[in-house]
Amino acid sequence: MDNILSFISSNQQIIYIVILMIFVGIEVIGRVPSVLHTPLMSGANAIHGVVIIGAIIVMGKAETGNYFALALGFLAVILGTLNVVGGFVVTDRMLEMFKKKPQPPKGA
């Protein structure tokens, strides 16, 4: 109990950020019409591609002679880029299809 409390206390701000982010994530999505579910999923998929930052850091910190670390990092960068670039491009392509939203006179 004590441990948990002091953990909470010393990571107070991060905990706030995480909790608030969860609220934001939930609220921001709340009103999405079902036609947009697939593009939204795809867009969210592209956003978690932010993991690429970690891959770049791993890659950029690997010592030049350490081939195993280099290979790991290199692979991670490629995979992360695939996620980011592919994700955004695919989402854009999908949304292209939705662009001319019809505005039928209500109830007509």
């Binding site: 995480v18 982010m21 969860i22 934001v24 994530g25 921001v28 009103r31 999405v32 019409p33 079902s34 036609v35 947009l36 579910h37 697939t38 593009p39 939204l40 999923m41 867009g43 969210a44 998929n45 592209a46 956003i47 978690h48 591609g49 932010v50 993991v51 930052i53 970690g54 891959a55 770049i56 791993v58 890659m59 950029g60 690997a62 030049t64 350490n66 670390a69 280099l70 990092g73 991670a76 960068v77 490629i78 995979l79 992360g80 880029t81 695939l82 996620n83 670039v85 592919g86 994700g87 955004f88 491009v89 695919v90 392509r93 999908m94 939705f98 001319k100 939203k101 039928p104 007509a108």
Partner: protein, 478 residues
Amino acid sequence: MELNLLTLCYLIASVTFILGLKMLSNPLSARKGNLIAAFGMAVAIFATIFLYEDNGEKLHNYAWIFGGLLIGTIAGTLSAKKVKMTAMPEMVSLFNGMGGACAALISAAEFYHIYQLHKNSPEIPFAELATVGHYITIVAGAIIGTISYTGSIIAWGKLNGRVKDYSFKGQHIVNMIVLVLVIIASVWAYQSTIGTIFLPFILIGLFAFIYGVLFVMPIGGADMPVVISLLNSFTGVAAACGGFLYDNKAMLTGGILVGAAGTLLTMLMCKAMNRSLTNVLIGSFGGGNKNDAATGATKAQGNYKEISLADAAMVMAYAKKVLIVPGYGLAVAQAQHICHELEKILEEKGVEVKYAIHPVAGRMPGHMNVLLAEADVSYEKLLEMEDANEEFKTTDVVLILGANDVVNPAAKNDAASPIYGMPILEVEQAKTVIVNKRSMKPGYAGIENDLFFQPKTSMLFGDAKKVLQNLCAEIKTV
């Protein structure tokens, strides 16, 4: 100075992610939202490359970094551009798997890094080198990333037909056991010394790998979009673990954002089909339940009547207004182009033609919009469910092409039906209903459809593409 700039860049990225996601959830701003998030991502990536410092030291291996970025960009762009519209969910699943794998690799690299630093003193317990918190972020990233990776690959395989549904009795218990093994291996690794840690760490990855496969394997192929959305939020959480690991706010916020939004989205998807998430995951009606439903179906519903091609052509050619209801069958038959053809022929004859689009018609949300857009059907002709339900009242002929559950009146009338409560297209309000499908077999939910037995309804059996081709030819001669 540069580090401060980096912080600002990450802040900008976080905000663009939120704004982007918010805009993505509104049809009018969705595309712009995607671009905004992409812009923020670019800022974060280049800021990391050029501004990141670790103990005052810049990153190196620039050649490798840019090489990787280049390869990934080319491969990603090409495959994203080439993929067929209807194969989108597969593609998303694949990219999601890449993200999961990336997160897992980062954890592995971090772990290897710790190992490298201390490999000369193999008797040090690992627990002395990393606090519990640090270790949990490493291991959670590895586990969740791996599960997301293998799960996504299986989902991808199911969607393109390479992997078949597979389940056995007691599967859920086996799954639980594997999950427990993952945890045991994690605890074991933490209590090992540097010299002996490799085995348990590899076991963690292995068990997580197996779990990902087992988790997705029994779920019906048609439910994959929901599963992908769930795995998507897993990858978000794995990315957030990376954010904790490097105390990187962009990764942390981006990951948590997707984790939370993805979870809600998964639930919304289920809700749009009027099912619960557990129901999807345990697969009660994509799979096992089907038999029960089929027996329910045997209570004979009276007779249905068939209509000949010639009669169908006649009825439609002389109608004032025809509404087409596309469904999964149309997608399977790849009949969207010939359907557009039919629309044009009818319009030449002075018939008003529109499409009634149910939000969960097909196998992914928006499936029909994408499909018809691919065949160049004008967007003005697509009616959303509410508008369509008004329009049916003044419609002469409704032509249902390979749709079933989305026009099943049981959703409104039969409280015992598994789809009860799902909003449907109320086609019975029109004067005549023509249904095209190959047989009297049920659709996705595995239940009988009363509509087919109503006096207004006539059946036009056959593969959607073939029937439409013949119909077009026939109407031309009218």
